[in-house]
Symmetry: C3
Subunit: 326 residues, 3 copies
């Protein structure tokens, strides 16, 4: 309660277990149309400060707050179009929202912006005796903690455990905030016998510091540029985009086919593997026709994953505003 | 309940009677400040996805949901400004909203987009055991079912019946989605002795297929390019804009005066005729001074018509979310 | 109740005393988490029409309405980006919102727009038997009544009285809507022995008509271009920006240092003086490092001032919608 949510580094195994239990409980209560949920955050106000677009994060946070009975405010005409805002720094903007709201969801393109926002919010809270907290909705290529939490919850929820899973992450592992945070969070959960398979073009490999950290935490890490090396043993396939702009046309030609997930890819995958994706997706899952085929595969659980985002965010809002997960 | 609202073709006379009864009941209860209304959609969330601006449709749907006790989410900074959205297709965007909301109001410039959205939403619903429905807020030059419903309700409400009315539609009847849908809906209501008068420049006449369909359904149709031919017998005058851009300057000069509604036009109209307009209006009602004069005429009921949009939309939301109109 | 809030000229001393009592009561109840507050505007809808950005006014009105249990609607994609709106006049836009909402908060760049909006809203109300009211959120360089009200409340709240205070207003006093309205409101309160010190570059002095009006109302007015002349006796220092664009580079060079508030300025100010600013701030308080130093000074109460905006707006909404301040 009252703690800012800025980094996956804040979470230990007991925290995660408590959070996931709460998310499951909330999901069950929602499916039973339990009106008691709307008592949890009644009387609280969330400010939605999105300095860049992120439709899923934005809408799911709004829906989460509403479904808990809380209210949401945002800048009517879009914060990034505010001409008066040019020249105002984040510290002042966040403190304005902090005067009116109990929790701020901040999405900002600049790495570290969530920390800066939390710092100034704490100063404000001291001044005006508030307890406004910040939840990061992603800060540039830095962190996106709620995405990693919903990803891990989805794996846990689908597989019942993390122990002895072989989890394959594919795509741009160098710049991908999502895959960094998820890998760390898996390690913080301290599962037994987990294997992480990193499949990336050579130029876009997982940063060595993260690989070293994971190995220190007893995670078995395999690195390859060829999905076929690890597909057959994968319990989880987490797909992300390789952006064409990061390559010369010649380079891109040599790798592109290996980093597009197609229906035929799944034909060679284990029957009980799950396919995840943080969405939105573009060409990394082929054409719209390919999407339709992939979406029809029961292994493709990225819509369930997306929906889980709401349950996780509801659990987090309940925790930071009321001090209890449910 | 649980049915998408995409086309006026979905509505039969009993549906319309039930809807209009509900709209009247809701209006009465609102005027009595009946707090029970806010129980009807309590706990439900509406996602507002407007890919193009439509202030009236947008605000009235939001107000409708709120007045029924429901909540509304939308993309904080405007969906069409979302840079991440470039490249994402409608199917995925709608399914994202479908994960978080119980009903989606979709406004999109592309004809058929509501059908496509409903198709993918049904697929999602099967996967995640949701019942999210879509209500079209207009798809390009295609359909705008809630506008036609509020228009028909307004005629019914003002005149008490549709039987034996002479209803005159004026303006661009070739491209006008509003007049197409309203004409069809009048026919679907199967009134007795209705006469539809279509007043348009020759180049912008009502499509022959619609005229033929109306005549098949026993509606008497008159076509003319001169309002004076039918004004004297009109019970309803439904005015829409003729866009200057559809003509050469010379052509436009020859027709423009006949397609601007002025205070003196009403001087020659029946005393109990009503004047309708879907709004917004520009030059088709003359200058701001002309607006003031027209607005003061008791026959000008386009503000009542606009307000009726809220009562109709409240009735529809109650129906799709709760299975009953009230 | 039912009265538009458009100008500080509407407020007399008893009105202000009643409003400030209500704001204090609301603040106390909010700090006690009194859920009864959410009954006050339950069932009412506010439309937020911001034709230009004003993040603080916008967010604080939204939060105020929510915290009183009311709902808020706005144009999903931002009213100023609405292409359909081009060509529609304010009179029609306001009446659209008036059909759906009980109170409209209007921010518009054009002086007099709030009066125009109120005029057309009254016409609409007669037609459709509504009681929708307008509250101005600022109209260009005209008025911004709620800013003046929160400013005066803050002085009153910090000092306990207005009598015998020496209040120093600094910056662009010629074009500054905020300082005009606050000066008038101070006079309307009819305090005893108040001294207003106007510190401005010669080209940006307070308009003579306002100075004359204040002197007629028995306010002692001092005008100077040098803060040091009045700083030592000031109980309140109200700082605003001098825009560089209003000067030639040579002119600006000669005055700029005197119109930037720095930590060392406060070193020479009375210990119990309060520093106010309407925010946002840019260079008129130096660098971000200067901001941090100023913000840490207990005399800098502009965040309290900003928070007070919410309590004042809550009191006003309760009054116009329910007929009572609390």
């Amino acid at each position: 309660m009252g703690k800012h949510i800025i980094s996956v580094d804040q979470f230990t195994r007991p925290d995660l277990e408590e959070l996931f239990d709460a998310a499951r409980s909330i999901r069950r209560r929602m499916r039973q149309h339990d009106r008691g949920l709307t008592e949890i955050c009644a009387g609280f106000v969330m400010a939605s400060l999105f300095f860049e677009a992120s439709t899923r994060t934005d809408m799911s946070f709004q829906a989460s707050m509403r479904r808990l009975g809380g209210d949401v405010i945002s800048v009517s005409n879009g914060i990034q179009f505010s001409s008066m805002y040019k020249g105002e720094n984040l510290a002042d903007t966040v403190r304005a929202a902090g005067c009116y709201a109990d929790v701020i969801v901040l999405r900002h393109p600049q790495v570290g912006s969530s920390y800066e926002a939390a710092y100034y919010l704490d100063k404000l809270n001291q001044r005006i005796r508030n307890r406004t907290v910040i939840i990061s909705g992603g800060d540039g290529v830095g962190e996106h903690p709620t995405q990693a939490l919903l990803d891990l919850f989805t794996i846990f929820d689908q597989k019942g455990t993390l122990d002895h899973l072989s989890i394959t992450l594919v795509g741009d592992l160098l710049n991908g905030r999502t895959v960094h945070s998820l890998s760390k969070l898996i390690a913080y959960y301290t599962p037994r016998g987990v294997r992480l398979n990193f499949v990336a073009p050579d130029a876009l490999r997982m940063p060595p510091a993260i690989v070293a950290m994971l190995r220190d935490l007893k995670i078995t890490v395999t690195e390859t540029d060829t999905l076929a090396d690890v597909l057959g043993e994968s319990d989880v396939l987490y797909w992300t985009r390789v952006q064409e702009e990061r390559f010369t046309p010649e380079e891109y030609d040599t790798i592109k086919d290996r980093f597009i997930l197609l229906p035929q890819t799944l034909a060679e995958a284990p029957k009980n593997m799950i396919v995840m994706h943080p969405l939105p997706r573009k060409h990394e899952m082929g054409t719209p026709e390919d999407h339709d085929l992939l979406d029809a595969d029961p292994r493709a659980i990225y819509f369930e994953q997306m929906e889980n985002g709401m349950f996780i965010r509801m659990a987090l809002l309940a925790k930071v505003l009321r001090g209890a997960y449910v």
